[in-house]
Amino acid sequence: MPRYCAIAGGERFAFDSLARLLAAATPERSGDQLAGIAAQSATERVAARRALADLPLAEFLTEAVVPYEADEVTRLILDSHDRAAFAPFAAMTVGDFRDWLLSPAAHAKRLAAAAPGLTPEMVAAVSKIMRNQDLIRVARKVEVVTAFRNTIGKAGTLSTRLQPNHPADDVCGIAVSTLDGLLFGAGDAVIGINPASDNLANCAGLLAALDEMVTALAIPTQTCVLTHVTNALRLIEGGAPVDLIFQSVAGTEAANEGFGVSLSILAEAHAAGRSLGRGTVGDNLMYFETGQGAALSAEAHHGVDQQTLEARAYGVARAFRPLLVNTVVGFIGPEYLFDGKQIIRAGLEDHFCGKLLGLPMGVDVCYTNHVEADQDDMDVLMTLLTRAGVTFLITVPGADDVMLGYQSLAFEDIGYLREVTGLRPAPEFEMWLARTGLAQGAAALPDPEALGRRMGIVA
C-alpha cells in the first residue's frame, strides 16, 4: 500500500516512499531524469506537490530518506536536531510551513530561532512547493552574520569572492588578477584560488604569496587556496598561513567518501584551523562548496532527488560554523541542470535552503560551455539573488575563469549590482577601500601603479 497519494487532473497518483514523493514534487531538472526518479508527467508533479503540502513536517523526523544506520549524514541531521526549536512547527504540514514562511510572523529573529529545529529535508520539501518569488521573499528575511577578519552577511551588504585563478598557478599572474579585482572593490568574502596543481609545495607558495599581499596592504579580508582538506591539514602542520579551510561536501556519506572526506576529518581540520587563531573579528573559518548533482555523479544518491541531497550537504556544512558556503550551481553540467531556467531555479533553491538552515550562503553564478545558458541567464540569476539577500558572489576577471574553463561573474557585474541595489561590501573592507582610495573606483586612486608595486607586480 503506497504511503503517499494525491489526485491531480482527475487521476490518482501514489508514491511508495518519501524519497519518491520528494523527487516527483521537484521542478523538472535533467539530473533527476538521468537518475530515473523525476515525475513521469507534469500532472504527476502536481499530485506530488499536493501530497507533499499535506505531509506533517514531523514525518521527516521519523522517516529518513537515506537510512540512519547506513549514513553518518542522516545521523548528524537527526542526532543534532533541536526539538525545542522545532516545537512551534511540530503540528504544521509542509503547506502550513510555506504559509508561515511567507507571513509577517516569520521575521528575522524567529527564522534564526527556527533554524536548529529545521532539517535539510524539511527545507528542501517546502522549497518544492514554492515559486521563485517565494524563495526570494523568504530568503531575504533571513540574516546570517559570520566573521573572521571582517564581518560578512549584515543587512545591506553584498560580499564577493575574488577568484584570481591562473592555469599554471603563476604567482605574478595571480597578483595581476587580484589587483584587477581590488580596483573594482572585490574580495571581501575571500581572495580564493583554485590551484591548478594540488602539489603541497605549490599550495604553500600560493598561501604565502596571498598572505604577504593581504598583510602588506593591510586588507581586512581572508585568503584561501582551495585544496583538499587533508592537504590543508598538512599545510597547517608545515606552518603555512592558512586562514580558511576549504572542502567540497555532499549530502550523503558515500558521496563524501567520493570527495575523500568524512565528518571526523572535517572536525579535525576545523580544530586545526581554530588552533591557529588567525581571525581578528571572529572565528568562523570553514569554507564549503556544494552543488546539486554531486551525489548522483558519485553514484551515491540513494534514490533521493538532487535538490534534497544538496540541502543535506548544508546539514553537513552547518555543523562546522562556516564563514562561507557556496553552491557552484551551473558548474556541474547539463546532465544535472540542463539550461538557464534550471540553473536559475536551482540557484534560488540552494540559496533559500542554505539561509533557512542558518548558513552564510553564497552562489557561484556560473555555467559551462556545454550548458544551454549564457551571460544573460547569469544577469537574471545574480539580480534575483541580490534581491534574495545572497551573502556573497564569486567574481573573476572578465567572467572567464582561465584555469577551470567556465564562466562566472565579472568584477564589473558587482559594480552593476551595487549600482542597482545600493548594496555595499563588508564594513571593515569598505573602510579599507575608502582609506586606499578605491571607494569610488580607481578614478579616486592617486597612483594605481603604486598599489601594483606594493603587490610586487609592476613590470
Binding site: N369, E412, D447, P448, E449
Partner: protein, 244 residues
Amino acid sequence: MSGAVSAGFDRLRTLTPARVRLDAGAGPVPLGALLDFHEAHAAARDAIRARPDWDALAAALAPLATIRVQSRAVERSVYLRRPDLGRRLAEPVDLPHTGCPLVVVVGDGLSAPALAHAAPVIAALRAALPELDATPVILAEGARVALGDDIAERMGAAMCLMLIGERPGLSVSDSLGAYLTADPVPGTRDSARNCVSNIHRTGGLSPEAAAARIAWLIGAARRLGRTGVALKDESGTAPALGQA
C-alpha cells in the same frame, strides 16, 4: 588614468591570460571586450555542436586500419543529457576479438575540432609502440571516456587508450584529452584511469609531448599491472587538477 600608468598596466596584462581590465574607471564592460567574449563563447558552442570529419581522420591515420562505431547517444541533445548512453555501444557492432595489448579509440567527446590532434598523437605513439600497427584504431561517435571500456572488452584488449575532445573553454576549443585504462571493463571507475589533458597547439601540451607522456604511462602501467591513482605520473610536470 595617465598614459604612463596605463603603459605600466599594459605590461602587467601580459602576465596572465585572464581578461583583466586594470582600468577601474570601473564602468560597464566596453563593447569591444563584450563582443570578444561573445566570439569566444560562440567558438566553444560551435565546437560542441560540430560533427567530426571521420573520413579525413581515417585518411590521416592510414595505413593504420580504422573501424567506425557509435554510442547510443549520437544526437547531441541526447549526448548532453545522458552520459550513461554515451558509455555504451549502439548495436549491432562488429569488432574483432583480437586479444591485443592495447587498443586506441578516438572519440568526439565535446569537441570535434580537437580530433585534428589525434592523428599526430597516434603517429608519435607508433614510433614508440610498434605493436600498435597490428590493431585497428576505433573511431567512436557520441563517445564518453568510458565507451572505451565497452570497446576494449569486446576486443579482448588488455589496455585502452581513449583520445577524446575535451569540453571547450573560452580560450581553447580544440583541446584533446587522453585516458589510459588497464583491464578495461564496463563499470570501471574514473579513479582507475590515468589522464593526460590539455593537448592542443595554442599553449597546451603538443601532440608529440603528449605522446611521450602517454608512452611513459603505458610502460609504467605494464610494469605496475594497473592504471589509476596508484600510478603516479613521474614523466614530467604534474597534470592539472580541477575543482572537485
